[in-house]
Amino acid sequence: MHVVIGVVCPLSSHARHHHFIENWRLRPRRLRCIRGTRFNAPAQRRQPRLSMTDAIQLLISGVATGAIYAMAALGFTLLWQAAGTINFAQGEFVMLPAFAMLIAIGLGAPLWLAFFIALIASIAILGLGFKKVVVDPMRTHGVIALVVATLGLSIGLKSLVKAAYSAEPHPFPYLFGEEIVRIAGVTVSYSDIGALVVAALMVIGLQLFLNRTITGRAMQAVAQNTFAAEALGINVARMIAYTFVINAILVTVTALLITPAYLAKFDMGDNIGLKAFFAAIIGGFNNPRGALLGGVLVGVLENFAGAYVSPSYKDGVALVLFLTVILIKPDGLLGTPQERKV
């Protein structure tokens, strides 16, 4: 019997038939050879079957990761709605607070204090500073100018951190410890539960703020129609500034939750920025709830693809989902069509 990496691929037609029948019954889509590299190996090396508890485990850790993607995606959608800004430096906006926290920890601050220091710095620099220095001067030049500006900012920030803090990864403490709990055969870590709870609280809190408070509603009004909002006496500039502040809070919390797994590194934002962007598009760029759905979908599906297909295909899931959604529903799953004058 010959084997390819990951999956048993019998060579004789009899064996192939036998294997096909066996696999078809168990897992219809598992019969595939991942790569062509062959080697002689014992027959026992067949992919193990994944049970229901495994599926639940994958679901929980997928939702936890997805909730973190959702927070960064939420920032994308908010900035787009309120300020017409697509921030391609969103990933680096997650990376910077992570390093700010590391520096504070290095100076002897406990994690909670480091978080608050990073939060204040983030609101000042990544929120208001970003708006004042990059977005305000560029907004009048249209979306493309802002896209190019934020792409440049992303490269600049990465190079800066690399020069100052080396290109090596740095360990980052877990907020909720590294302990694990076993519930009915499912192993869940405190960090996953904690990430899930914090991300859920952030998203629900934000929804309540946007829908139930006067400021939140004013922000939505600005997002929907700036001129009408201004005519109604809403301070548009302040509402837009609030959006940048909220984004700064979201990226700092995202950094706190995701850096223990990602490790603090100058290019850690590449992956999170990309996944958050995909999540925002999948869910609908003009709907904050869409960002949540998109984030969780990406997190869960990539976990399942990793386990049921191959870990090698995991990172492609978001891209495939992204392509499928924009082909079938260009405005995203929960997005609404937008008309713009050209």
Partner: protein, 380 residues
């Protein structure tokens, strides 16, 4: 007028002296991973070489000549490694240190070979020295030399009947995987899962889940440093409770720093470790930590060794000509007694593969502890 003439004369004299020094200096190049996926490995190796060359220069250089070094970043990409190697050759270097990544040295060594320049590497993939290149020299074991020791440990010490294998899908990982599968097969140990992961992979949850499902007696992991740390964190997160066994990279100092408590209990074989019970290595560890404020891993040792190996070879050849240096190392042994910078006695074969003592280690409370010292494979 007199003042300006004196100044001119002084400047000319200084220029002449510095030109003479430049002409005398032995030029070498470091072509290493200073950014990208191999940053940890490349930076450590670079620091090791720098430390050794600073010592060598301070002690009067090699055969009375100072060593001038230029540093180039491969960005962990083979194509850039190749371009940098060509640049170094144009600069007329005597020897090249690096790259550390097997995938890069596999590509770049063709150029140093053509130019007849000795090229030291930290690469461990078996095929690095299988190209018939007389100018390639390892600073660590060939994978195929380390794996029999690991397989022996799994089969004889741990009595594992089945093993789950997680490897990284690059030249280093694939080479190691092929080598361990061969060795396990020869000892009748079943491979219960054979799991491929990607360079730069961040989330190892599904890979770990598949390893858990395989229900093997032990797990063998073979990934680069950064990925090893993430894997160890995920293994701990999912409560994996079987023995974790690896080769050098799984227990590196940087991995232990990044993985934290998740690295405890990991064991395996290392070619070089600063925790080795050897006075010369301990002394090196102290110097490295003082200089760079971080603990050296095996790559730091490899770099330090490489620079001193070049010194020993030039002194033996009494020449800085590439062919003579290479010939001085082939099928030769060098003792640490005669060349303390080599840290351990070492022998090269005709292919550039290295042989020396190695160690079985276990990570306890965030520190590597040497469980046993293993002798050279081929005692000469």
């Amino acid at each position: 007028m007199k003042k300006s003439f004196t100044r001119l004369a002084a400047l000319s004299a200084a220029a002449l002296v510095s030109t003479a020094t430049m002409a005398q200096a032995i030029k070498v190049a470091q072509i290493v991973e200073l950014s990208g996926g191999g940053t940890t490995a490349g930076t450590m190796y670079r620091n090791g070489v720098k430390l050794a060359l600073a010592e060598i220069n301070a002690a009067g250089g090699i055969m009375g000549r100072q060593v001038a070094i230029s540093e180039m970043d491969t960005q962990s990409q083979p194509a850039i490694a190749k371009a940098m190697t060509m640049k170094a050759i144009d600069e007329g270097v005597t020897a090249i240190f690096g790259p550390v990544f097997s995938g890069s040295i596999l590509v770049s060594q063709a150029d140093s070979q053509k130019a007849g320049i000795p090229n030291f590497t930290g690469g461990e993939a078996s095929n690095v020295t299988a190209q018939g290149n007389p100018f390639i020299f390892r600073s660590s074991f060939n994978q195929s030399m380390g794996m029999p020791k690991v397989a022996n440990y799994l089969a004889n010490d741990l009595k594992a009947k089945s093993v789950a294998v997680i490897f990284i899908n690059n030249d280093f990982g694939k080479g190691g995987r092929d080598a361990i599968l061969k060795e396990l097969g020869a000892r009748g140990v079943k491979v219960a899962a054979d799991i491929s992961t990607d360079p730069g992979q961040i989330d190892f949850s599904s890979a770990v889940l598949r390893a858990k499902q395989a229900n093997a007696d032990a797990l063998f992991a073979y990934l680069n440093e950064e990925e090893s740390a993430r894997l160890l964190r995920e293994l701990r997160k999912q409560g994996y409770d079987k023995p974790l066994v690896g080769e050098t990279t799984l227990m590196g100092a940087k991995v232990i720093e990044l993985a934290g408590a998740a690295a405890n209990g990991v064991r395996g074989h290392v070619g070089l470790t600063v925790d080795a019970p050897t006075a010369s290595i301990r002394e090196f560890a102290g110097k490295f930590e003082k200089e760079y404020k971080s603990k050296s891993d095996h790559n730091g040792l490899k770099g330090y060794f490489s620079a001193y190996m070049l010194k020993a070879a030039i002194e033996k050849a009494k020449s800085t000509e590439g062919k003579a240096i290479a010939a001085a190392m082939k099928n030769s042994c060098f003792t640490a007694k005669q060349h303390p910078g080599l840290l351990l006695d070492v022998c090269y074969d005709d292919k550039g593969d290295i042989d020396r003592e190695s160690f079985l280690v276990e990570v306890k409370s965030g520190k590597q502890e040497v469980v046993a010292t293993l002798p050279m494979l081929n005692k000469r």
